[in-house]
């Protein structure tokens, strides 16, 4: 998939690629769909003999309730299923295989031990309705993780309930909403900076607020003056990511928190970029009332091709009564789950959180400890600054402010007809997953690079070399970039067609 031999001139590889295309055209797809590989009568699972007397199930439940068939479901034996999905796996870039500097996603190494811990039978086979006294280890793990997250963030209480960052946002905003209601002063607006992730305004709407956009100042950060300008008694909260999506620490955050609090509004800090701040600075000290964590970013749980993650939230003492239920509490009888919280916002999902992700995050925190976590952020910051410094000439950052764990690069290649997308696609030919592109929206053609602390200097140097190489290619042969990628199993995918003529499932031909 990636270029096997990077010393070979890319033009030669492209030539070979063109020669191979004759063959490629015959091959309609890379891997047939599982449904196309199906042959009626095959099966990949054997059931044991029944071992007890029974009438047929259809009689027991009533024929009128039963379906006639499961038309279209594939029929394959185990070896075919294994080969199918293993072949698919080979079509993916992944953090374990490639440099994956996707900005604001924190694609760090996921320690494999953590998967083993989550798979321990004492965790994996624990049913969520298990009585508390038979699940003391799980409850204690949750309590310890809550405590650790509270410590690193400077918050007073943590709930592990939300399934993902966006659900944590919703939980946090509903808590703010409930708090204002309890004070008898319902409020209608949430201020969100123009650099924010799309989930922030989407969560605000879902939580019943009107999203009001705050403009970043000239230097790329949020200014207290702008918050003062937008402030009114209708404002429930400001929702801000710190460091921002530009990788910049919000220098006026304390003053902003004061403005908010003077007006009875809350500060919500989105912890998407928390990987910059472990043992560096605490949200609680910045005046945050609510924060959420993305365990799949900062705390190394695998991203899974788009989840599952986990999005715990932390709050200051005054908001604790509003946290989702159940809460993990300890009394004379040991740990138990407590749902008797009249002010709680309730539940946003079933049971007690994405527990298997919590196990992984806890194992990660144990492995690194206080010093290790502090090193994580420092080295993540060093990596981003190193890339910024090395690429300064052709890919300067969007602002001159100091950056933390990620940097947003810009370029002048549009005058050569080369877009940020072209650069991203060309990076694939170097075996590198592209950074986040066209985000944040405030930076034209943004390239948002988050290298993380688990990459070597050599990897960062290779990335720099690839970017420089691409820059030079853009000067001499821009078409090469516009036609990229050249060395993957597929050439550029037509995303516009997918949207124009949606084909969202396989259907039998007849």
């Amino acid at each position: 998939m990636a270029r096997a031999d990077r010393t070979k001139p890319i033009e030669m590889e492209v030539h070979e690629q063109h020669q191979a295309q004759g063959q490629a055209r015959i091959e309609q797809s890379l891997v047939p769909l599982i449904f196309e590989e199906s042959v009626a009568g095959r099966r990949g699972v054997d059931l044991p003999a029944r071992g007890f007397p029974s009438r047929p199930a259809v009689e027991l439940i009533g024929a009128d309730l039963c379906r006639k068939n499961l038309r279209g479901l594939p029929e394959l034996s185990e070896p075919q299923v294994m080969r199918h999905f293993l072949r698919l796996s080979h079509l993916n870039f992944a953090q374990a295989l490639q440099f994956y500097p996707l900005g604001s996603c924190t694609m760090k190494y996921n320690p494999v031990l953590n998967d083993e811990c989550a798979a321990m039978p004492g965790f994996a086979d624990l049913h969520p309705h298990t009585p508390d006294h038979l699940a003391q280890g799980a409850l204690e793990l949750m309590a310890r993780l809550e405590q650790a997250l509270a410590e690193v963030s400077g918050m007073d209480a943590v709930s592990l309930h939300p399934a993902a960052g966006a659900q944590g946002e919703l939980a946090g905003l509903l808590i703010i909403r409930a708090w204002h209601h309890k004070q008898g002063r319902p409020r209608t607006k949430v201020i969100i900076p123009d650099t924010a992730h799309g989930t922030n305004p989407a969560s605000s709407t879902l939580a019943g607020f009107e999203a009001v956009v705050a403009r970043s100042g000239k230097r790329g950060y949020l200014e207290a003056a702008e918050i003062r300008r937008l402030m009114s008694d209708d404002v429930a909260a400001l929702m801000v990511t710190n460091p921002s999506t530009l990788g910049i620490f919000e220098p006026q955050i304390c003053e902003i928190a004061d403005v908010l609090h003077q007006h009875g509004a809350m500060l919500y800090v989105d912890g998407a970029n928390f990987n910059a701040l472990l043992g560096v600075a605490k949200f609680g000290d910045m005046g945050a009332d609510v924060v959420h964590f993305n365990l799949h970013k900062t705390f190394s749980t695998p991203h899974g091709g788009g989840g599952p993650g986990a999005g715990p939230i932390g709050v200051k003492r005054h908001l604790e009564p509003f946290l989702p239920v159940p809460r993990v509490v300890k009394d004379g009888g040991g740990w138990r789950l407590d749902s008797d919280r009249p002010d709680s916002i309730g539940k946003l999902r079933s049971f007690h959180g994405n527990f298997a992700m919590l196990v992984r995050a806890y194992a990660y925190i144990l492995a690194l400890g206080a010093d290790g976590l502090a090193q994580v952020s420092r080295r993540a910051i060093l990596g981003a600054n190193y890339i910024r410094a090395r690429l300064r000439e052709h890919f300067p950052t969007a602002t001159d402010e100091p950056v933390l764990h990620e940097c947003v690069l810009t370029h002048d290649l549009e005058e050569k007809g080369v877009s940020t997308l072209d650069i991203a696609k060309r990076l694939l030919d170097f075996g590198i997953h592209p950074p986040t592109i066209y985000f944040p929206l405030v930076v034209h053609g943004a390239i948002m690079v988050e290298p993380t602390e688990t990459e070597t200097k050599q990897t960062l140097d290779e990335f720099v070399a690839a970017m420089e190489h691409i820059y030079n290619e853009a000067q001499t042969n821009p078409q090469l970039l516009k036609d990229a990628p050249h060395t993957l199993a597929l050439s550029r995918v037509d995303e516009a067609q997918a949207a124009r003529h949606p084909v969202l499932r396989w259907q039998p031909k007849d």
């Binding site: 698919l88 144990l366 400890g369 410094a389």
Partner: protein, 449 residues
């Protein structure tokens, strides 16, 4: 620090390139009053062996896992997981990739999700399914929100009281910011354990936005989804089915076949461990005409420049990263790896295996119910059931304690969530239960009943 590769010498080189004297230089611009002076109050880092030992010690404090023969269900189900499922989802190519924004480098994830979407449409009998949601409860909440987007003037949501308490709670929480929407709970018929159709009919007027019913419901009873859908449709409302035990869809009529406009549910039964309640995976299917109102990611088929079939994320103009405050949902990360597990599991079972496994679950549960009835522990409800059912015992806590004493987790007590069912015990039997477990259950419950 085994996860941190940079050596002291490399750090020095990198600092020099950056033009900083030390690591602390890099954070010196953070206001001094915020910069942490003291070390974090956490223990020092541990070796891999030490971490393992600590986690093993905690796992050992969960005797409820593995050391008991279990009849627990009630939203999460114990099923055998084929080794192939674990083998595939533990592949780092799947586990350590992220949302497939770059389709050329993500065809594995994309095609697997496309296959998942197809499988869900086949099971639900609907035309379009998304790339997954967090779980069944949040999917149900998103379904109600979608109905509201399609009919913003309708304001009454009718929930079956026999819908799982967590699903009802999640729907209430997701709707809590829209107080103009009224949620009514339709009681269950005390005889059948299914929704009281008369009460639903009485609530079905032109304000009715949607109905939400379990299929099967919290009591294991198969709701009359066709009748519910008819009542909803006559009022111009949507019928939403929610399924926590998707194995039932291997045998029952597909929700789309009996009138559901949206079918949501929990996919955990299909290849995911119970894991103390998460992560599972929500599924979400609807009719194609409502495509633009759907929440979540969608994978579509297209071509590359050579005309080869390819897959990519599509119809993203509904989503938060494009539409921001006007998005159909705030969902971003979903539960892709769990959706992959479902796709592998269903591919292994296939049409025939899924049907047989569903039948086996019906059979073992009915065998258990009959055996219990024979010792005087009768079913509380008469409605048709899939793999779980409610029995009545004199003293539920006492029965559960007695069962624990014999190495059994006998079921889920219903009294906490249903005041009217103080004597109700929800018993789930799956293919993982042996006839000998049922013998022991009968013996125990006979003694305390």
């Amino acid at each position: 620090m085994r996860f941190l590769p940079q050596t002291e010498a490399e750090i020095a080189q990198m600092l020099q390139t950056v033009g900083a004297a030390s690591m602390e230089d890099l954070i010196a611009h953070i206001p001094a009053e915020l910069r942490q002076k003291a070390a974090l109050k956490l223990a020092p880092g541990l070796s891999e062996a030490q971490v393992t030992a600590q986690l093993q010690a905690l796992a050992a404090l969960n005797p409820g896992a593995g050391q008991f023969r279990s009849f627990l269900g009630g939203g999460y189900y114990r099923h055998y997981i084929p080794a192939a499922v674990r083998a595939i989802i533990s592949r780092a190519e799947f586990a350590t990739s992220y949302t497939p924004y770059q389709p050329e480098a993500s065809q594995g994830t994309l095609q697997a999700i496309f296959e998942f979407q197809t499988l869900i449409t086949q099971l639900t009998g609907l035309e379009v399914a998304n790339a997954s949601m967090y779980d069944g409860a949040s999917a149900a909440a998103e379904a109600v929100l979608m109905a509201r987007r399609a009919a913003p003037r309708k304001d009454v949501v009718a929930l079956s009281r026999a819908l799982w308490p967590d699903y009802r709670l999640a729907i209430r929480t997701y709707l809590s910011a829209q107080p103009q929407i009224k949620i009514v709970e339709i009681p269950f018929d005390p005889q059948s354990g299914a929704i009281d159709l008369e009460r639903l009919r009485a609530a079905a007027n032109d304000r009715l936005l949607c109905t939400v019913a379990g299929y099967p419901n919290m009591f294991g009873v198969v709701e009359p989804l066709e009748a519910i859908s008819e009542i909803a449709h006559r009022a111009g409302a949507w019928s939403i089915s929610a399924t926590a035990e998707p194995l039932a869809l291997g045998l029952l009529k597909a929700p789309g076949e009996v009138g559901a406009d949206i079918a949501v549910g929990e996919g955990q039964s299909f290849g995911l461990p119970v894991e103390y309640g998460g992560p599972g995976v929500g599924f979400f299917a609807a009719r194609l005409t409502h495509l633009r109102q759907m929440p979540g990611r969608l994978v579509g088929q297209t071509r590359d420049r050579q005309g080869r079939r390819a897959f990519c994320l599509t119809i993203a103009t509904r989503e938060q990263h494009i539409r921001r405050e006007r998005a159909t949902s705030n969902i971003c990360t979903n539960h892709s790896l769990c959706a992959l597990a479902v796709a592998v599991y269903l591919s292994l079972l296939g049409a025939q295996g899924l049907r047989e496994l569903a039948e086996r679950n019906v059979e073992i549960a009915h065998y258990a119910a009959e055996r219990l009835a024979a010792v005087g522990v009768g079913r509380r409800f008469a409605g048709p059931f899939f793999n779980e059912f409610v029995v009545e015992v004199g003293d539920v806590p006492k029965a559960l304690r007695a069962a624990e004493g014999r190495g059994l987790l006998a079921g889920v007590a219903l009294g906490r969530d249903y005041r009217e069912l103080q004597r109700g015990l929800l018993i789930c039997a799956t293919e993982t239960n042996q006839p000998a477990d049922i013998d022991l259950l009968c013996e125990t419950l006979r003694e305390v009943a």
